[in-house]
């Protein structure tokens, strides 16, 4: 297949552009969106590429319509994505819940900016961490990935599609204006270098008749896509294994919701991803995510030079969150610092994970600037005194 950008080579591109290219290599052939800073470049790149690879790109009337359209496309059997920023992400929340409830594989990119409300359209933030995990209503679980570099924006986008297909779930790629607009060297692999996961399709009539069942015991039912003669009924109402609405039976609701949540939570080991640096002998740990992890890495090195044994834990998967892993880190170190560009969101998760085994301190910064390494070092130095 011919690609509208060079493959098997490195390129110097923006994070947003990297997401678009990765989506196409991951097999995305439907993009619906609504322009919003700082995510528009994803749409613009998709607008350029999609028609050339026989995919669909369409500018919808709003963000609600955009996510609705990609859910529809997914049920028609096509890998689909939308991208937005905070305010648009808020509008999508109801249909994110719909995608969770109907177990629809889709990818939603949120290139975070300062909020709440219209906030700081051109500046980065990590203010949507809680919204990405808990934004929609009701009991649910989904997957949230958080890149720190343009290369990771590329790699995590491919992973987002694979996880969406593997677990039949919406996956959120939580980027930010800094990663989105920054240009870096990115290796764009050849298609045969990439592992691509496709959703399970029903192998027989029996499986097709249980589009929300668990025929393989792994919690992930095969997805009978539209037009194949399976006559599948999909509803956001509480439904049984066959997809029939069963809204007032407590057991049915409990059964379906527990399975939908557990198919993510039970596979935490597969989904949760992190990187550690200098953590073996560390007395303090910096746990952070996204763009801030890059400043934090430099801070770790500077602290080490001063004789403070610091280590870094970079969280790549924000949800499902491996609380036990954080507890193990907390057992090894005396203190944990959580620098993040909000008033404390990842901090809540880390503190719960640390479970009192280590003191957890928030290094908060808002307003649209990434923490400098010096700021992190100074906070820690002051705190350790």
């Amino acid at each position: 297949m011919k690609y509208p950008f060079p493959v098997g080579t490195a390129d110097f591109i923006q994070g947003d552009e990297a997401i678009a290219r990765a989506a196409i290599l991951a097999g995305c052939r439907f993009y619906a969106g609504y322009p919003i800073t700082p995510a528009s470049e994803i749409f613009e790149a998709m607008a350029l590429y999609m028609p050339l690879v026989d995919g669909v790109v369409i500018q919808m009337e709003d963000e609600i319509a955009s996510i609705a359209a990609i859910i529809g496309a997914s049920w028609a059997g096509v890998k689909a994505m939308t991208a937005t920023s905070g305010p648009g992400f808020s509008l999508m929340q109801e249909n994110i819940g719909y995608a969770v409830m109907t177990e629809t594989p889709i990818v939603i990119v949120d290139v975070q900016r300062g909020g709440p409300s219209t906030g700081q359209p051109t500046l980065p933030s990590q203010g949507d961490i809680m919204q990405s995990i808990w934004g929609t209503h009701g009991d649910h679980s989904l997957i949230v990935l958080s890149p720190s570099t343009v290369q990771e924006a590329f790699d995590f986008t491919i992973r987002a599609f694979n996880l969406a297909e593997k677990y039949r779930t919406p996956v959120i790629l939580l980027s930010d204006a800094e990663v989105g607009h920054m240009r870096e060297r990115v290796y764009i692999p050849n298609p045969d270098e990439i592992e691509i996961v496709n959703r399970k399709l029903p192998q027989n009539e029996e499986e097709a008749e249980l589009p929300f069942g668990d025929p393989h015991g792994d919690g992930v039912p095969p997805m009978p896509i539209f037009g194949k003669g399976y006559r599948t009924y999909v509803t956001g109402l509480t439904h049984d294994e066959r997809g029939r609405p069963r809204t007032v039976e407590r057991e049915v609701h409990e059964r379906i919701i527990r399975r939908i949540v557990e198919k993510i939570e039970k596979n935490k080991k597969d989904i949760f991803d992190y990187e550690v640096k200098e953590i073996e002998d560390a007395e303090i740990a910096i746990i952070t995510t996204g763009i801030v992890a890059r400043s934090a890495l430099r801070a770790v090195r500077d602290l080490r030079r001063e004789g403070i044994r610091a280590g870094l834990v970079k969280i790549n998967t924000i949800w499902p969150f491996d609380f036990e892993f954080i507890e193990k880190i907390a057992e090894k170190v005396e203190r944990i610092y959580v620098p993040e560009m909000n008033l404390g969101q990842l901090y809540h998760l880390v503190r719960e994970g640390a479970n009192g085994k280590a003191e957890v301190k928030l290094i908060s910064k808002i307003g649209g600037e990434v923490h400098t390494p010096v700021e992190i070092v100074e906070f820690i130095r002051r705190d350790m005194r």
Partner: protein
């Protein structure tokens, strides 16, 4: 026209395990559903290639009762979901079964934009002038002065004329009937299903329980009599003065044209893109 028995239509197209329906006595949705299924039957369309899409409300429960692929979505968003299904797989024929509150209030923006794009979809719209499922609140179609639980002293806002809105937004086919114009209704649905682009068949449909009861029309027959009073066939309306048409609802076929549908336009767009990039001559 010879009508096949209603039992035959039921046995052929409904999911028996989902019956009975949730619809109240006197409700018109079942009738309109029957007309739609009859139209599909008469046109001999392949049920495996039809997807029913809906939003929220009584009429939006219809995809659950018919044995087709179906997507019962969020309130007002049926046409946005339909856009994705149709463009992702243009082989599929989409029927959106919607209510007036669903289509014209919360879904108003999706409605006009789906029409503007000329999305290839047939909308069957149940207009009962009320929010039936949530208990009879006023809708954007409620005629002025009539009561709903959220306007207990009579609606003070102006109603939408959904069919005329669709004509203005650019639909290829628009017709409106009451549920009692069944021959015209079935014929219109048949036409609509064969149309490229956006087609809409709106039905005035009785809701005695949530709407009629609050407006001195407790039974379906009373609502029929009211429809007879307030509806004017389009040919007759053309000869009437605006003052005479005040408070009346025009029924009939409003538009029947053949602008290219969204799927065809996008196929052309793809070709243009490849040509402009030098991928194809």
């Amino acid at each position: 026209m010879r009508l096949v028995s209603a039992y035959e239509i039921r046995d052929k197209y409904l999911r028996k395990d989902m019956l009975p329906t949730i619809f109240c006595p006197g409700c018109g949705i079942g009738s309109v559903l029957q007309y739609t299924l009859r139209a599909i039957d008469e046109l001999k369309l392949d049920p495996d290639k039809i997807v029913w899409v809906s939003g929220i409300g009584c009429s939006s429960r219809v995809p659950g009762f018919v044995n087709f692929d179906g997507l019962h979505t969020t309130h007002g968003r049926a046409l946005a979901f339909a856009t994705g299904i149709k463009l992702a797989n243009p082989e599929l024929k989409i029927i959106a079964f919607m209510g007036d509150g669903d289509a014209a209030a919360i879904g108003g923006n999706h409605f006009i934009h789906a029409i503007r794009r000329n999305l290839d979809v047939t909308v069957i719209l149940i207009n009962n002038f009320t929010y039936g499922m949530t208990g009879g609140q006023v809708a954007p179609t409620t005629p002025k002065g009539l009561r709903g639980t959220t306007a207990p002293y009579g609606q003070f806002e102006n109603p939408f004329d959904i069919a005329q809105l669709a004509v203005a937004a650019g639909a290829n086919y628009v017709a409106r009937w009451t549920v009692f114009n069944y021959i015209q209704g079935i014929n219109s649905i048949k036409k609509a299903l064969q149309k490229e682009g956006f087609s809409l068949v709106e039905f005035l449909s009785p809701c005695p329980i949530s709407f009629g009861r609050r407006n001195r029309m407790k039974t379906a027959p009373e609502i029929i009599k009211w429809y007879q009073k307030i509806t004017v066939p389009i040919e007759k309306a053309k000869k009437m003065k605006p003052e005479e048409l005040e408070g009346k609802i025009i029924i009939g076929e409003f538009v029947d044209r053949d602008r290219p549908g969204l799927v065809r336009e996008y196929e052309e767009y793809k070709k243009r893109a490849k040509k402009m990039m030098g991928w194809e001559v």
